[in-house]
């Protein structure tokens, strides 16, 4: 039996290894393309074992080095981290298969560079999940930004360069200007960067200043895409779809909201937040972002742009769940990381499939195309239902918990926000399958969708249904997170 400390390494290192080997395999494409999914399997095995260990009440911990007093680099697996690590590593398998199908089907250039940085980004995301303290978290947060930059600018044309610059300046700028100082602030007042189950700030910080510290964290975590620092996400959609799918629906943005939840629960602590009301403004901001971006999504005709705005809106659910500072809402937020990831990756897979198979990227062009690619559109339909929160899809659980949490914390207007947003979700997501199946066909297209695209799409679609029935381990992790 392998000691649980090494399980962290087994989970974290496969993507790094893939990243290191890939550049030497640019001529042997089959081997190169196999590496991703194989790495995903190994990582997933490790992350599942870690989840079991955490559920057994253990806390795997690995410390590498001590830089200065109270500052060290190391990994600790918290319940929330185990949850996020599981999501990132399992979805990497599917995204790995999918990206092979997509890149080949679309005849993209520089596929080796793509695979290299893709693996590095996954590595960074996993390290964020298991980060033992705020500095480790910050370092891998930056590595994630830098490793996704070449992926966003993959096409290397004018538009991609411009998007890349926006992406970099918002994500890197916000983290260095606000997140890092916020982390230093925590170090100055507590003398350490360790995170703890119930928060570290209670009694250390003057409650008057707490909202400002929270503000520095919230706007410093650009990856959580709260308004007004959400612009990078739609811009990043110039990247190839596998990037948008794994990174901008799962790894990068989830790393953002994961950091946000970690800060809210393990740095501030939900008791401290509800006692002082330091996060009250965040509830307002997240609700505003949630509704505004849903409305913007309605007006987007480009599929990926619409999904991007929908992602921003769904991320705000998670932030909102954390900001409500009740144990139910926080659990709901943690579950939403899982269910939204499965749902949204399916939707992005479909968008990519349509683009590769039929060269369509506008919603208005999809009229009547449902019959030519039925499986793909059914997958989209199921994914949409999960995001909307209809049983029996996984998404219904997280929405249920979030609403309970809103009621528990006493902010009843938040329930209204959730309801309105659900209606908007229905409107902008279901328009796509509705057009595909019920509108009159305008263009005659014979789509050719590679098998390597169809299979992972159907699998993640199946996953969203499975999540409805097997939510229990996730729910246990979430309740461990809030200390129940």
């Amino acid at each position: 039996m392998i000691s649980i400390e090494y399980l962290i390494l087994i989970t974290v290192f496969p993507p790094l290894l893939v990243c290191a080997i890939t550049p030497f395999l640019s001529d042997r494409t089959i081997l190169r393309d196999l590496l991703g999914p194989i790495g995903g399997l190994v990582s997933s095995w490790g992350s599942i074992k870690l989840v079991q260990a955490v559920l057994d009440g253990e806390q795997p911990k690995l410390e590498f080095l001590q830089i200065a007093e109270g500052i060290s680099i190391g990994f600790t697996v918290t319940p929330l981290g185990a949850l996020f690590g599981l999501v990132a590593s399992v979805l990497w398998i599917f995204a790995g298969i999918y990206s092979v199908g997509y890149m080949r089907g679309n005849k993209e250039k520089s596929q080796t560079r793509f695979s290299t940085f893709y693996a590095l980004a996954v590595h960074a995301a996993l390290c964020i999940a298991y980060a033992g303290d705020l500095l480790t978290l910050f370092i891998f947060y930056e590595i994630l930004t830098f490793s996704t930059y070449p992926l966003v600018t993959h096409k290397q044309d004018e538009l991609a360069q411009k998007a890349g610059r926006l992406y970099m300046s918002i994500l890197f700028g916000s983290s260095v200007i606000l997140l890092l100082p916020a982390i230093i602030w925590v170090w100055v007042i507590t003398g350490s960067l360790e995170i703890s189950q119930n928060g570290v700030l209670d009694g250390k910080i003057n409650p008057k200043y707490a909202p400002f510290l929270l503000m520095m964290f919230v706007f410093g975590i650009g990856k959580a895409a709260l308004m007004p620092i959400h612009k990078w996400l739609p811009a990043a959609m110039v990247a190839p779809t596998p990037v948008s799918a794994l990174l901008h629906a799962v790894a990068v943005v989830k790393a953002g909201v994961f950091t946000m939840l970690l800060v809210l629960t393990n740095v501030f602590g939900i008791d401290f937040l509800s006692k002082t009301g330091a996060s009250f403004w965040l509830i307002g901001l997240a609700s505003f972002t949630l509704l505004t971006t849903s409305v913007i999504a309605i007006y987007k005709d480009d599929i990926k742009a619409r999904l991007a705005y929908s992602t921003i809106s769904q991320l705000s659910y998670i932030t909102l769940g954390g900001a409500l500072a009740s144990s139910m809402a926080t659990q709901g937020a943690a579950l939403h990381i899982v269910t939204h990831a499965a749902g949204k990756i399916t939707l992005f897979f479909v968008a990519g499939a349509i683009y590769v198979g039929a060269k369509l990227s506008k919603i208005s062009e999809l009229n009547g195309q449902g019959k030519s690619m039925p499986l793909i559109f059914i997958a989209f339909f199921i994914g949409s239902l999960s995001i909307i929160g209809v049983p029996p899809m996984g998404g219904s659980w997280s929405k249920f918990f979030l609403m309970l949490g809103a009621a528990e914390s006493g902010y009843f207007f938040v329930i209204a926000v959730f309801c309105v947003s659900t209606i908007l979700n229905v409107y902008y997501l279901l328009e796509i399958p509705a057009r595909a199946f019920f509108f009159k066909k305008e263009k005659q297209i014979t789509p050719k969708i590679p098998v390597l695209i169809t299979i992972p799409t159907l699998m993640t679609c199946f996953l969203t249904i499975l999540l409805f029935f097997f939510i229990e381990p996730f729910q246990n992790l979430a309740s461990l997170m809030v200390g129940k």
Binding site: L135, E142, G173, V176, I177, P181, I184, W187, V188
Partner: protein, 497 residues
């Protein structure tokens, strides 16, 4: 034998480069003079390491020059404070001597090499003497030795660009004004205390209160040293001097020259005078603090608008000097320690950045502006890699030495001055990202317009690699620097009590 060696270490570490500098004038062969210089700097480095170990156990080493007992005779003092600049100067001079092997002949021509190295060692001897001496007037002598040697070194850049002569002239005149102010101050203090020994001065100064000559003397000394340390707005000699000097000279000066003067500034403020004195408190709060903040912003903003890279780095140095003087101006033990931490780290950072940029200049055989860098990052991966790491260190990102500086500076500032200065520090360090990113973006992302093949030369990048490694190493294990800077601050403050 070892006993004698150890007893004479404080003077040997100065004499070793000084004597070799005189000897080198007689040699005409370029290679031999380089080898001799290298050996001298290695020896100086070893001596300073020995001194470092000695100071760990004895904390205070005094050497009476010519056996004339201290208050009257000249005293050399090595304690936990002065050892920091000694280590900085000796290590950087070793690295930049290695670095200069290819670059010096390229910049100044084969024929005058041995003379240049003679000046080079003279400058190093001057700088080390400056920080070892415990005598206020002897300090002036070394100040002049190092300045005049540096001026001549800067002027050697004239072979590449005639602007170097103007730069050297500016440096000479402004430097001379600074030194004169300092010596007037020393004279005034001498007139009321009758002593030149620093420790003695500090004892005598305590007994005098509210004497106008004392205040005037203090003002002259401080202003003179602030010129040498390039504290804003007395920095105008610096950008030109750094940017037109021969490559290796830029590295040496940028990493060491102002550090020595900053150390003297700290000595005057905290050990000759007393932190609890009104005079010092007023100077710190109403002169040095505002000037430091202005320097942080002025230097950074000038760097943002600068096209010439060497000059850009020089402007950024002004901002970084602002951080160090800001740390001093807060005047708590923790903040002075932060100042010393940054003094050391900044020498590593700026040394690395100047090495990277000047070696790019050597590969391209021309002066580098932001446009000439276009797309060259891939052409010279090692240099570019080091450049990025040093830039990240300058920006103060985690895992680099610069982060440690920033961390301790902010910690010290929060605990004594409050939040608004921290905000200013953060804003100015965020602004520094603009010019750093500008350079990295051009190097990495822009298309290479002309196809240039560049072969990176190991004799050039070896010292760059070492200094970059140190930047990372001290970012991962900061205990050595932090502990020594803290004990330096304690010694400095204890001295005055």
């Amino acid at each position: 034998m070892t006993d004698i060696l150890i007893k004479n270490l404080p003077i040997l570490v100065v004499l070793c480069p000084l004597m070799m500098s005189l000897f080198l004038v007689l040699i005409s062969n370029a290679f031999i003079s380089w080898i001799l210089t290298l050996l001298t700097t290695v020896l100086t480095f070893i001596l300073s390491i020995l001194l470092f170990q000695e100071v760990q156990t004895h904390t205070y080493i005094s050497y009476a020059l010519g056996n004339w007992a201290p208050p009257l005779g000249i005293e050399y003092v090595i304690d936990k404070v002065s050892i920091i600049p000694i280590i900085i100067i000796s290590s950087i001079s070793l690295l930049s001597t290695i670095f200069s092997y290819k670059l010096m002949p390229f910049d100044v021509g084969q024929s005058s090499i041995s003379k240049v190295y003679s000046l080079w060692l003279l400058a190093i001897a001057g700088l080390i003497g400056l920080v070892t001496t415990g005598d206020a007037f002897n300090l002036f002598v070394f100040l002049e030795i190092s300045s005049l040697a540096s001026v001549a070194l800067v002027a050697m850049g004239a072979k590449k660009d005639k602007q170097a002569l103007v730069a050297a002239y500016n440096y000479l005149i402004i430097g001379a004004v600074g030194a004169t102010l300092y010596v007037i101050g020393v004279g005034l203090l001498y007139s009321i205390t009758g002593t030149l020994n620093m420790e003695d001065l500090s004892n005598k100064v305590k007994e005098i209160d509210n004497n106008r000559a004392l205040i005037a003397g203090f003002g002259f000394m401080i202003t003179g040293i602030m010129v040498k340390a390039a504290v804003f707005p007395l920095h105008i000699w610096l950008p030109r001097a750094y940017s037109y000097a021969p490559s290796a000279v830029s590295v040496l000066l940028a990493a060491t020259a102002t550090k020595a003067s900053l150390y003297i500034l700290a000595r005057i403020l905290f050990s000759i005078f007393n932190i609890s004195d009104d005079l010092i408190i007023i100077t710190l709060n109403y002169v040095i603090l505002p000037l430091s903040i202005l320097a942080m912003f002025a230097g950074t903003i000038m760097a943002i608008y600068e096209k010439d890279i060497k000059r850009l780095l020089a402007h950024s140095s002004i901002a970084q000097i602002g951080y160090i003087t800001l740390a001093f101006s807060i005047g708590s033990n923790a903040s002075i320690a932060a100042g010393f931490i940054h003094m050391f780290n900044h020498a590593l950072i700026k040394g690395g950045l100047f090495m990277a940029i000047t070696s790019i200049g050597y590969y391209l055989q021309k002066r580098i502006t932001i446009n000439t860098l276009s797309g060259l990052g891939r052409q010279m991966p090692i240099t570019f890699f080091c450049f990025i790491l040093c830039s990240l260190s300058l920006a103060g990102l985690p895992l680099t030495a610069g982060f440690i500086s920033k961390l301790y500076l902010i910690k010290a500032t929060i605990s004594s001055e409050g939040i608004w200065i921290v905000f200013l520090i953060l804003i100015s360090s965020a602004l520094s990202l603009i010019y750093l990113w500008k350079m990295i973006e051009v190097l990495w992302l822009h298309e290479n317009t002309k196809k240039i093949i560049i072969n990176e030369n190991p004799s050039i990048y070896i010292s760059l690699l070492i200094i970059t490694f140190l930047n990372i190493y001290f970012g991962l294990d900061a205990s050595l620097i932090v502990n020594n800077s803290e004990s330096a601050a304690n010694t400095l403050m204890g001295f005055s009590k």
